[in-house]
């Protein structure tokens, strides 16, 4: 299995403070990889480094073997990596349908096209509608995205993230702030829509992590202290000491 995403000695400092202190990680194609760790461990920073939101201080990030250093988020996205955000990040004033349609434009080759009318493209309309079908928001199609319920907005965000056909999907706490039933719903949704894709997720809910991931990495104070299958990680004494023990007992 060749690596979809590789981190090599990745470091990030903000001023004097080193947040990511040398992360090595290889995530294989088609793997569902969860990154867990206590608050402030640097999980979101790691996400932001990989997706080009922040430049790294040292080390390398490779997507399908290609170095991402110095690339802007939109360039990384064009290379086949897509992400969702911890805080819902959609286009609130546009309709649900338009949110999804916008996320299809680049990947369907429209680029900065200003000579064709979007509503005339059957492929775009059908593509967006089929995504809406997958995320069960067809009934909300023509509402402004801002008026959807929280869980629906999260589902829409996942729809936007997968719509462009990226093969590496990164989800930042997809179930944050959700009730139990909403969480179950989103987990099923994630499982369906990411079939055959590489999934990297940050998640706090251990139920979600153990239910969804084939590989888990534990990030503590900017370093990965363990990587392995859920069983390995669960049994790892270092992990139990650092973080997981208490979290597991409550489940």
């Amino acid at each position: 299995m060749s690596a979809a995403l590789e981190l090599d000695g990745l470091k990030k400092s903000f001023g004097q403070t080193e947040i990511i202190r040398g992360v090595d990680l290889s995530i294989g194609k088609g793997e569902r990889h969860a990154i867990i760790g206590p608050n402030g461990a640097g999980k979101s920073t790691l996400f932001n480094l990989i997706t080009g939101r922040f430049p790294q201080t040292a080390g390398a990030i490779r997507l399908h073997g290609q170095d991402l250093a110095g690339k802007a988020p939109y360039e990384i996205n064009r290379m086949g990596l897509s992400r969702s955000f911890q805080i819902t990040n959609i286009f609130p004033k546009m309709t649900v349908f338009e949110n999804v349609r916008c996320s299809l434009l680049w990947s369907m080759g429209y680029r900065y096209n200003f000579w064709s009318v979007v509503s005339r493209s059957r492929a775009l309309t059908e593509g967006a509608d089929s995504i809406l079908e997958q995320i069960n928001l067809t009934a909300r199609r023509d509402l402004p995205a801002g008026v959807l319920s929280y869980a629906e907005q999260r589902a829409l965000e996942i729809g936007i993230t997968i719509a462009g056909g990226a093969d590496v999907i990164m989800l930042d706490e997809p179930t944050a702030g959700m009730s139990h039933s909403e969480t179950d719903y989103i987990v099923d949704l994630i499982r369906t829509v990411t079939t055959g894709k590489t999934l990297v997720m940050v998640e706090h809910d251990m139920g979600v992590v153990f239910g969804l991931a084939d590989q888990i990495s534990v990030l503590v104070y900017g370093e990965i202290i363990a990587t392995g299958t859920p069983e390995d990680v669960r049994a790892n004494p270092k992990v139990q000491e650092a973080y997981l023990g208490e979290a597991l007992e409550t489940h």
Binding site: A72, P73, N77, F91, E98, S103, L105, Y112, F114
Partner: protein, 432 residues
């Protein structure tokens, strides 16, 4: 919600799709017919002058809204793109041989290209960021180019500006554009072309992404689009149509001065666009029509027209951020429910009374202004077709009475209006 069971709730997408595929043609046909027949209804020369001014302002406001409403870019210096386009056209009018070889109706293309060229240069650095940074750069560049008008005299003609003669162009099917009405139709055709192109632009992938970048630039970046390039293209397109507006100004007035470039002009177009409503494509059109009417008709009646316009603008920003278009679109839900009629009487009561109050207040303002600023001994003034002595007490009492009565009644009836509004927006059978 029982009446909804006749439609299949599982297939809303299919139901809606037919509607959203088509571009609504009816409003465009109505607009074209209106433009065609308006000069036959308002035949006076002054009316045609006003309509020309209106059409030019519409194009400019629509171009401005490509930035403000669709791209989320607040520009304080957009007059320069129209102005520079206009100046370029006057220069072309003065190039005897070249101008004689092109028909006048094609001249706006040159204005557009000039506006676009300038926007390309300025946009290359100003569109990196939206928000305050963009607004400040637009203000700075606007001031800079306005200041150039007295420095680069060869192009801007200094304080007196430059003038030309549109009739030296190649005759267009025998038309030499000596008559105001011929210019009217030239502008009307360009209005239709520009408005249609700007509307279509908003429906293209780039136009849609301009909205997306406005709403959430970061998310757009993670969809493969560089927010900066999307803004840049919108800016360039907007500069093009602003240049066309400037060119039509040059054709209509045959003179351009520093006033076409300065911040006042940039402020006016912001005001026009906001007044009309930035959220809908047709908003700036309404804004331009209302503003031009106020500017031309009201300014004949009172020196204080800008003061009233300022009040209207502040009220719009504070209470109706959607502008005139927003106010109109607010009524769509009630119309869909077929209950718009229920608003008629309450509107008449509250708004009618409010109008009386406004007229009273305006009379008070005019009287105060006359009392303070009329030359000594000139006590006579005329408002609302009534002539009286502003130094006697009776007119003041009457004006105060009207103001208090009007606003008082409006205030008393406002709760009824709110009830009627809620009723009109509640589907039949639903409990409140």
């Amino acid at each position: 919600m029982t009446d909804q069971s006749t439609t299949d709730p599982t297939k809303p997408a299919q139901r809606m799709r037919a509607g959203s595929m088509a571009i609504p043609l009816l409003p465009w046909c109505v607009a074209a017919v209106l433009l065609l027949v308006l000069p036959f209804i308002f035949t006076a020369n002054s009316a045609i002058t006003i309509m020309n001014q209106m059409a030019i302002t519409i194009i400019f406001a629509l171009a401005y809204n490509m930035l403000l409403g669709q791209g989320g870019m607040l520009s304080f210096g957009h007059a320069v793109y129209a102005g520079v386009g206009g100046f370029a056209c006057v220069h072309i009018m003065n190039m005897d041989d070249f101008f004689a070889s092109i028909p006048l109706p094609l001249l706006p293309i040159f204005g557009g290209l000039m506006g676009m060229g300038l926007a390309t240069i300025v946009g290359s650095f100003s569109t990196r960021k939206a928000g305050t940074v963009f607004a400040m750069i637009s203000l700075g560049v606007g001031e800079l180019i306005a200041a150039c008008s007295v420095i680069i005299v060869a192009f801007f003609g200094g304080e007196e500006g430059i003038s030309g003669d549109r009739t030296y162009g190649m005759p267009f099917f025998g038309v030499e554009f000596l008559q105001q009405i011929e210019v009217y139709y030239l502008i009307a055709v360009w209005l239709m072309i520009s408005a249609a192109l700007m509307y279509l632009y908003s429906r293209t992938p780039l136009g849609r992404m301009a909205n997306a970048v406005r709403d959430n630039p970061e998310r757009a970046e993670f969809l493969g689009y560089s927010a900066r390039w999307v803004r840049f293209y919108s800016f360039v397109a907007s500069g093009f149509f602003a240049g066309i507006a400037g060119a039509l100004f040059a054709i209509n007035y045959e003179i351009l001065t520093e006033e076409n470039l300065n911040t006042t002009q940039s402020g006016i177009i912001l005001l026009v666009t906001f007044l009309g409503g930035v959220g809908f494509f047709f908003g700036p059109i309404l804004g331009a029509i209302v503003f031009t009417l106020v500017q031309t008709v009201l300014s004949l009646q009172t020196e204080l027209w800008a003061f009233y316009l300022g009040i209207v603008f502040v009220v719009t920003v504070m209470f109706f951020p959607g502008g005139l278009a927003g106010i109109i679109m607010m009524h769509v839900p009630a119309m869909r429910l077929g209950k718009l009629g229920r608003l008629g009487v309450p509107y008449l009561k509250t708004l009618g009374a409010g109008m009386i109050g406004c007229f009273g207040a305006a009379a008070l303002i005019e009287m105060t202004f006359h009392f303070r600023h009329a030359s000594t001994g000139d006590h006579e003034m005329t408002i609302y077709w009534t002539t009286f002595d502003s130094h006697t007490v009776l007119p003041w009492i009457i004006a105060i009475a009207f103001t208090v009565f009007g606003f008082g009644v409006a205030r008393r009836t406002a709760p009824d209006l709110v009830d009627a509004w809620n009723d009109a927006n509640t589907p039949n059978g639903a409990t409140q």
